[in-house]
Symmetry: C2
Subunit: 384 residues, 2 copies
């Protein structure tokens, strides 16, 4: 976690390696002394975490951590701001700082979470090996990254595929498939980079708690304009609808044929699941429930939507006949998530339609702490 | 490239999605107005680039860009620091800022380069499609990421494998293999994340300029302690030697058997190359030249070493007999790289041994701009 003490060294391996040349010669003039290194984050044995940030001239520095927004930090006489948390439950926590209102990454922590709008750092509070996202000494699956030109979206894009340990592309055996969708601002790497989906699946499969499956993680935007606009995109109904429509089209007509052509995937709706978080939860519902000939296992984790969402417009032909087709409709949300209302509204609407679903409410906000647990629970139910 | 204007929105999709609920109601009290968004970097049509960073209270902000260290930035009356470059040659440029001596990433640019010591942002100055790293409308290969427990290094680690377009694991055809090694502070993703090795290979193979090949990109540390120590690691001779020794052992006894078991790789020294940059250049020379029964194509890009490096100790049994075994020994370095001296010394020593090599000196410093060009040139020579 600790970065270099020397600013210059951070930039220029050349200067460092070059310094080997001069190591036996005394320097003529000593270089300016760089500030002492800052250790951040520091995870203590009692599971408290100290965050530190050097900024001698800032008037105000705050910590924004998953589950704790805008925590004030205190400055010492060296210009280093710090704050120590209460003991934290074992997990991965995303975070960043603000200094005088400007969001900044922790320069002492190289561990970064990619995002198209708000990259953040991450700190791991380690826990027992029984936690589904902890790395265990089990056989590991493989992550594949594919690149293709999307005619639907009109861009070059990528998708990721997880294959479980023991997967053999030359063998006859086929696997069920889960299409797993990220949230708004994430990229296609989200579910592996911070969701640790591969670790979760490795563990569950090794323990016999989940069936060996292939997991396909596509880029979740039907049009990149939706995310390029930034967070305001959600108030543009036309753009939002187009995003969802084109996402479904890209998934069904581009990604799905490609992966079914390349991987040993069982081509059967009974062996095909779709799930996702937030924007990806909405997409799982839209693409899944409107294509019950293709999907029979559907999961929505903290799925997005306006509280006044028009579900009849979203699912025009959905009715109780879906119960014969659906093996699982799993709708989860954290009770402290602002999207709990739309999720409760959705479940109420489904009841009026006579569509059976599994309701999951857990403690938690709109964070990966909730979604990793959602995946670990949902994956155990699939393909049974 | 543009990040959100709202600090709060950056952290909490919840608040944004929740705001959809209230969109028809006038706010009771308007939230504090966030600072206007900063656009950075801005690539202009004349290939100049403006970098911007908001920090109203800093006394001094500088830009550190590949090829330009410590460029002063000027503050405007909004507290936004900026600098505009001269026109830049088309390329990917890594960069970061320092504010009052503290290295910081650009909060307006989500495009990040992973590094275990010094993550940085990157800006793309686009160029003609003939440049080897520009994405072209050609068939793309695939990137695989593998995870395993290393007994040699005593840790859990990963490696990446590039397979070219059309690679079929079930077919009989086998491919030659290039082991491609990153530099100090990079992780195993370096050659794809910022080296764009997959794009370079896609282009060269599509143009018929390079033979279709598999590229294996392992983690380049024999012991993670070597990088955890930071840049001072290079002055610890014992640690450095152990790093190189254990790296070679992990490559030869763990990674190579795994990839030869899983991929359709031609198991023949005539079809096996090793190359790398900086630390990875040194490792390519050490592992390659000391295992000529396994490798016959060796490339060193800006390879690391002290100017007084003891080559006789590094390559105790190397002599002119190697010329019969080596198809290519390609030693490249930028003329503005501080490592040019050790590379010239190495070549002079090889001459005294009667070992033939190909000398490449190009303009450039110790940067990925040099190494992408090195790979594009080196890859065309392989397996002919």
């Amino acid at each position: 976690m600790q970065s270099s003490s020397s600013v210059k060294a951070c930039f220029c391996v050349l200067s460092v390696l070059g310094a080997l040349a001069a190591q036996d010669k005394p320097a003529q003039t000593p270089p300016p002394r760089p500030p002492a290194p800052v250790v951040s984050p520091e995870v203590h044995t009692d599971a408290t975490v100290t965050f530190r940030f050097r900024d001698p001239n800032a008037a105000e520095v705050k910590l924004w951590r998953d589950g704790a927004d805008g925590v004030p930090m205190q400055k010492d006489d060296q210009g280093v701001w710090s704050v120590t948390t209460a003991p934290l439950a074992p997990d991965y926590y995303g975070y960043a700082f603000t200094a005088d209102g400007v969001r900044l990454l922790d320069p002492s922590n190289h561990d970064l979470v990619p995002s198209l709008l708000s990259p953040r750092n991450v700190v791991h509070v380690p826990g027992p090996s029984s936690l589904p996202w902890e790395l265990n000494d089990v056989s590991h699956g493989e992550i594949h990254r594919h690149f293709y030109k999307s005619n639907v979206a009109g861009d070059d894009r990528d998708y990721y595929v997880y294959t479980p340990a023991g997967y053999n592309p030359a063998a006859k055996k086929t696997y069920p498939v889960l299409y797993l969708l990220h949230g708004f601002s994430d990229d296609a790497s989200g579910w592996t980079a911070i969701g640790h989906a591969n670790v979760i699946l490795d563990n569950l499969i090794a323990q016999g708690k989940a069936k060996p499956m292939i997991v396909v993680m596509p880029l979740g935007y039907g049009t990149m304009k939706f995310v390029h606009v930034g967070w305001d995109a959600w108030s543009n109904a036309e753009l939002r609808d187009r995003n969802f429509e084109k996402f479904g089209e890209a998934l069904l007509t581009e990604v799905m044929p490609q992966v079914e052509g390349e991987y040993r995937i069982t081509r059967d709706r009974n062996a095909r699941a779709i799930a996702g978080l937030s924007m990806g939860g909405k997409e799982s519902l839209l693409t899944g429930l409107n294509n019950l000939d293709k999907f029979s296992w559907i999961g929505a984790f903290s799925s997005a939507g306006a509280p006044n969402e028009d579900f009849q417009k979203d699912f025009p032909s959905l009715d109780a006949k879906a119960n014969q087709q659906l093996h699982l409709l799993w709708i989860a949300c954290g009770t402290e998530d602002g999207l709990i209302t739309v999720n409760r509204n959705l479940r109420a609407w489904l009841k009026t339609k006579g569509v059976k679903e599994t309701e999951i409410e857990t403690p938690g906000m709109h964070t990966w702490m909730v979604w990793r647990r959602n995946l670990a629970e949902f994956a155990q139910l699939l393909f049974r």
